[in-house]
Symmetry: C2
Subunit: 373 residues, 2 copies
């Protein structure tokens, strides 16, 4: 069995849609946010807790797992699901984004990328074939093609070169991939250039991937440019296949992305923010580690149903974080993931009822309003 | 309602006994090991997890909570139970041990101890009266008298001086204490000198505390000296009151302590060891972060029923610890606490069946045996 996708409802006034993504490890409803488990664990959380906050499909990281503990080890362990005790579906990114983020530590050629480990400086080589080999060993449900992700801003020439290489590499990924029960999604690149986005989308669609990601956004460009790129790119992608916007997870972008036809998202924002002592609330971001919350005996977010909000006060969580206690960032992580996953539940509900545009307006008004705490 | 203690069975061949300690937050069976929640949290764990591994009575720390977040703040929060969401009983130590551990950062006088905070160097003063005031604000079920704990080795003269001061301070603690539903335990000192231990015990028993701790052991002296001190001291303590051996938690010492008549123990050993990547097993200590466990796909301890051992391998836990992932030390902490708390369950069961000496021999043979992993 492999991945299939069913669109069960389309909104009549925008591109939002409700779908079902069927995987060997269960069916998930879309639009979905995927918690990030970079190193085979969603930071600070146990798998049951990820499930409790509403996590269904998690993302893990080829580059990190390749370096540590090593993909052969994960294969010996029976694959990533078993290694980390996660029974639900897993998507692995290809390592492209991480390798290209290494800057001076890597060298790009047509064959692939030579890079040095951020852990010990050791030299490694990643190619489309290698990225497939590693992801086949990990045994994720969805593997990602090995792409070249360019920074923002980026020259037209370099963006074109990277986009063309991404298409050639995509072809090599498909040729190298041969694992039943795992599919490969293609990644559309093209920086902020409409012409390149179109070219990339058309070339990838030609390869008939079972799903498409939009990569290279949320890398520093203004949000309105990201939205324009989505408006422009999505129509080139086949309507019957899932669309995944990579690395996007701030609440406003999730809502805006869904409206533009995105089915899947991932981002470290909620979990990373949590470890910095900040939380998402209906009224915007709240830095609970700030002194003003020292004697605040109310929950992180009075509207939230998560474990942290049901049992603990801002004062206690602030104390834990100031004292360097792990439970502090466990609680903020639980809260932030629950916040984003509940937002996705509400988004799906709004699409179901045909009210997603109203929902967007209402949500953003409160979230971005002047009374943000 | 306050603390009462019932001895329900005494072993006929040694001093071990089974008891029930009734507190305003529930009744617990003794002998008991108390997980340590220094800063109002058992490091890395949520309260439900502490309960799941068998934790019933936890210890928290007056010195640490006085400095951060401050005892008035905990009082405002509704007391320590509510602040940290722990529904079971809590024992707070007096801060004596911590203050005396500060070395050059403190100055002792008859009135009390002037010390500097290990966090920011600020100057503070602790006295028996202050230690009571803070613990009354925290609202623990059992408060500890403010004592002078001497290091090992220690001269007879200094040990005598500290022991005498501990008795005078004990009297002041009782005079200053006035919180319903909270009791104060006295602490026997006297270093490794039998004469001073006797003197300390007799003077404190004279004050009629509802429970007695033996302090100043497990501070560096050889274990056989600790055992001799217990053999010598316990007979001076009233049989109908609980006896608490402070700071002791290695598995062999727990068994040996119970046999010598101890009802309560606390120690950071299981939780601290866990954070260093080492675990307790029936066959001794296992340093799971070592390279030899990289491809070991068996549980931490095949005989253990804890969450970590039911779901994860040594290879995975080692990976998490090497990668700096919090879940790694969460799992080793869960395991180590479960190990010690299950040991206490087995100890109570053995006392119930009159087989505690056999249990001791069998346990120690395996735990200290040559096949220790």
């Amino acid at each position: 069995m492999s991945i299939t996708f069913t669109v069960i409802k389309k909104d009549s006034s925008c591109c939002a849609r409700l779908g079902l993504l069927h995987t060997p490890h269960g069916t998930v409803e879309t639009p979905i946010f995927m918690p990030v488990g970079t190193q085979a664990t969603v930071k600070t959380m146990a798998p049951e807790e990820v499930r409790d906050v509403g996590g269904r499909l998690i993302l893990s990281n080829t580059y990190h797992l390749y370096l540590r503990p090593g993909y052969e080890l994960v294969r010996e362990a029976g694959g990533l699901h078993r290694f980390m005790n996660w029974g639900g579906p897993i998507l692995t990114d290809s390592g492209g984004f991480q390798v290209f983020s290494l800057g001076p530590l890597r060298e790009v050629a047509e064959e692939g990328v030579t890079f040095r480990s951020h852990i010990d400086g050791s030299k490694h080589f990643f190619s489309p074939e290698k990225a497939m080999e590693v992801q086949m060993a990990l045994g994720s449900d969805i593997a990602m093609a090995f792409d070249e992700c360019v920074p923002y801003p980026c020259s037209w020439d370099y963006a074109r070169e990277a986009t063309e290489r991404t298409s050639r590499w995509a072809r090599r990924c498909l040729a190298a991939h041969s694992r039943d029960g795992q599919v490969v999604f293609g990644i559309v690149q093209g920086s902020v250039f409409a012409e390149l986005r179109e070219k990339s989308a058309l070339e990838l669609v030609d390869l008939n991937f079972p799903g498409y990601a939009i990569g290279g956004l949320s890398v520093g460009e203004p949000k309105d440019i990201m939205y324009k790129m989505l408006d422009f790119t999505v129509p080139f992608l086949p309507g019957e296949k899932p669309r995944y916007l990579m690395g996007v997870g701030s609440p406003d972008c999730l809502v805006e992305g869904v409206i533009r036809g995105i089915d899947m998202f991932d981002c470290v924002l909620p979990t990373r923010m949590a470890r910095n002592g900040a939380v998402l609330t209906r009224r915007g971001k709240l830095v609970v580690r700030n002194a003003e919350y020292a004697r605040d005996f109310t929950p992180l977010d009075p509207d939230c149903d998560c474990y942290a909000c049901r049992h603990y006060t801002r004062a206690y969580i602030r104390h834990l974080i100031k004292a360097g206690e792990v439970l502090g960032i466990r609680l903020t992580t639980i809260h932030n993931l629950r916040f984003v996953l509940k937002l996705m539940e509400e988004i799906r509900e709004a699409i179901r009822h045909g009210t997603i545009l109203d929902y967007r307006d209402k949500f953003l008004k409160e979230y971005q309003g002047p009374q943000a705490q």
